[in-house]
């Protein structure tokens, strides 16, 4: 067997057709992708999902909740997973609706295996990027939490573009104190420059509008 190219990723397949599920699993396994299959949306939601980069291959026509409704439900619950739709009979409005709601691809059955594998790779890559972005922001938030309230306040003013003198006026502090706070903010946040700090403030979401 080849070395697994993406060891820590998983494809979820939801299709009511057992034979289709098996075929999908076999196909993904042949290229070394780990696949987990489910017969319905409810079954997918009940299962404990590994916290790794993943993507969801969803049949439009499902028992109970339809694929498109399921997509809406996931978005509402803020579960961000890239979705690839497949359908036995799709029409244009259905496709448009799915793509607008952020689907990666809409594949009519029977599909070319390469199309499906490409779409799955795109989905997993996108999920990985999203996860990394989220992790970076979580780090920033942790660093921001280590700042004292005063330092957080100073960071707000600094990133809003105020000069030290102005900040001192606003906070009724000596300019030298502001400078000290500012230095510790830069150090604790790990910012190399003011621009860096401003970007961090944006990511954490504390930047005031000047």
């Amino acid at each position: 067997m080849k070395a697994q190219p993406e060891p820590q990723s998983v494809v979820f397949v939801v299709d009511d057709d057992a034979s289709m599920r098996e075929a999908m699993q076999r196909l993904f396994r042949s290229v070394g992708l780990q696949a987990e299959v489910f017969a319905s949306a409810a079954e997918f939601l009940r299962s404990k999902l590994a916290d790794v980069p993943c993507c969801l291959v969803l049949d439009v026509r499902l028992p109970g909740l339809s694929g498109l409704d399921f997509q809406t439900e996931l978005a509402k619950a803020n579960i961000q997973v890239p979705i690839i739709f497949m359908t036995g009979h799709g029409d244009i409005p259905m496709t448009v609706k799915a793509m607008k709601a952020g689907a990666i691809e809409f594949l009519p059955k029977p599909f070319r295996d390469q199309d499906m594998l490409d779409a799955v790779r795109v989905g997993i890559a996108r999920d990985r990027a999203r996860r990394e972005g989220e992790r970076a922001i979580a780090d920033l938030r942790a660093k921001f939490a280590t700042l004292t309230p005063r330092e957080q306040e100073v960071m707000g003013f600094v990133t809003a573009g105020l000069m030290n003198k102005q900040i001192a006026g606003e906070m009724q502090l000596a300019e030298i104190t502001v400078k000290l706070h500012r230095g510790s903010v830069m150090r604790k946040m790990g910012a190399k420059s003011l621009a860096d700090l401003v970007r961090m403030a944006d990511d954490v979401g504390i930047r005031k509008k000047s």
Binding site: M1, K2, D17, S19, M20, E22, A23, M24, R26, L27, R29, S30, V31, R61, M86, T87, G88, H89, D91, P108, K109, P110, F111, R112, D113, M116
Partner: protein
Amino acid sequence: MRLLGRSRLTARILFWVICTSVLVFSVVTAFTIWQEREGMFLKAQEDAGRNVSRNIAAISIALWNFDKITLDATLLALTQSGSIVRAEVRDPQQMVSEVERVDQRGKPDAEWEVPILGPDDSRQIGTLKISESYAGVRDFVAATIATRLVSELTKIGGLAALLFIVIYSVIARHLQTLAREVSNLKPGDVLTPVRLQRKKVWRDELDTLVESINRFRSERADAEDALWATRSELARVTQMTTMGQMAASIAHEINQPLGAIVANSNAGLRWLAHEPSDIAEARAALKQIADDGHRASEVIGSIRSMFKKDGHEKTLLDLNDLVRDVLTMADAELRTQRVFASTELHEGLPQVLADRVQLQQVFLNLIMNAVEAMGSVNDRARLLRVRSEIHDASGILVTVEDSGMGIDTKDRDRIFDAFFTTKSTGMGMGLSICRTIIEAHDGRLWASAGTPYGSTFSIALPTADASGKS
């Protein structure tokens, strides 16, 4: 009288006019005659009085002289004419003279006495007694009443006749026409405006009425047209939607195993391409492919059997009614395409046991096909004829004939195949489904060339009795 019977309105008007005028004329005539009679009585009395006073001097002298001859002559003169029928003269002691009219019968109506005075007017020398009878006046009045009655009745009769002619010719006959026209109104009639037989338009109430009826009729016809158009459009859309849904469902059912087959074969190929090849995985994939192939075949089989199922509700139907219903459904289309539809339906057709909706679909499909086939016909009439007849012992034959373009001989065997179509817009499913439905009813559907042109579609169906036995 027949006219009167037809026009009850005129009869009623006449009845009341005659009743009222007879009553009024009778009262007036009776009053007049009574007054005249009173006058005549007074005049007769006056005449009698005047007659007596004119002759009283002669009577007095004759009595004074005791000239009986003159007295008799004078009394005779008195009783000769007028109402005085009897006169007698007596002196204080005895009857002197008495004269009575010869034709007098019965008792007199009035009697009165006049004193006779002497020449010096100082002394009463006798009495003149007068008897009066008004029989003459009575006879005269009776004669007058009869004459009057006849003349009044003649007048009333004449007036009634005149009134009848006027009312009938000016109002009643037009009202009859209107009533007939309005009561004959049926939905879907060919529209001919109501017209009254009058020399010119008077712009009176009748003309206004006719105008509004005509306007109402044309508005109603428009509304009916719109309704029919909507209804047939709806039927068509429903049919299309059902077809579309069915197609989607079939596509889904078949694409499911097809998708699995393709995915499995791709996976199998990839396992074989591995170094070394994974034969076990590839074999499992191939086995799966075989299973899915069978599954796809089963799906198609179940779709075919869906049309053959006896699960549909079969009821006893009169095919003639069904044909008429379908022609009504297609009416708007026939009208807009200027197709003249006629039927030759054999009355008393035995019933068939069939699914009404399915048979309706078949007939509607055949009729619509016929209409479409005649769409490009402009040099001859667009004729659609539906005939029903009893076909051998246990079957009914219904034919749908058109005068359209006909069917190409080379296509005749293929038109019933699924997905075969000669139209630019069409799935080629119509006739195929029709034949499936008819065959599910143990019947036959075939096409033949029409004479001299067009085509004929024939449906043979067993009667309910025959299909019950089989």
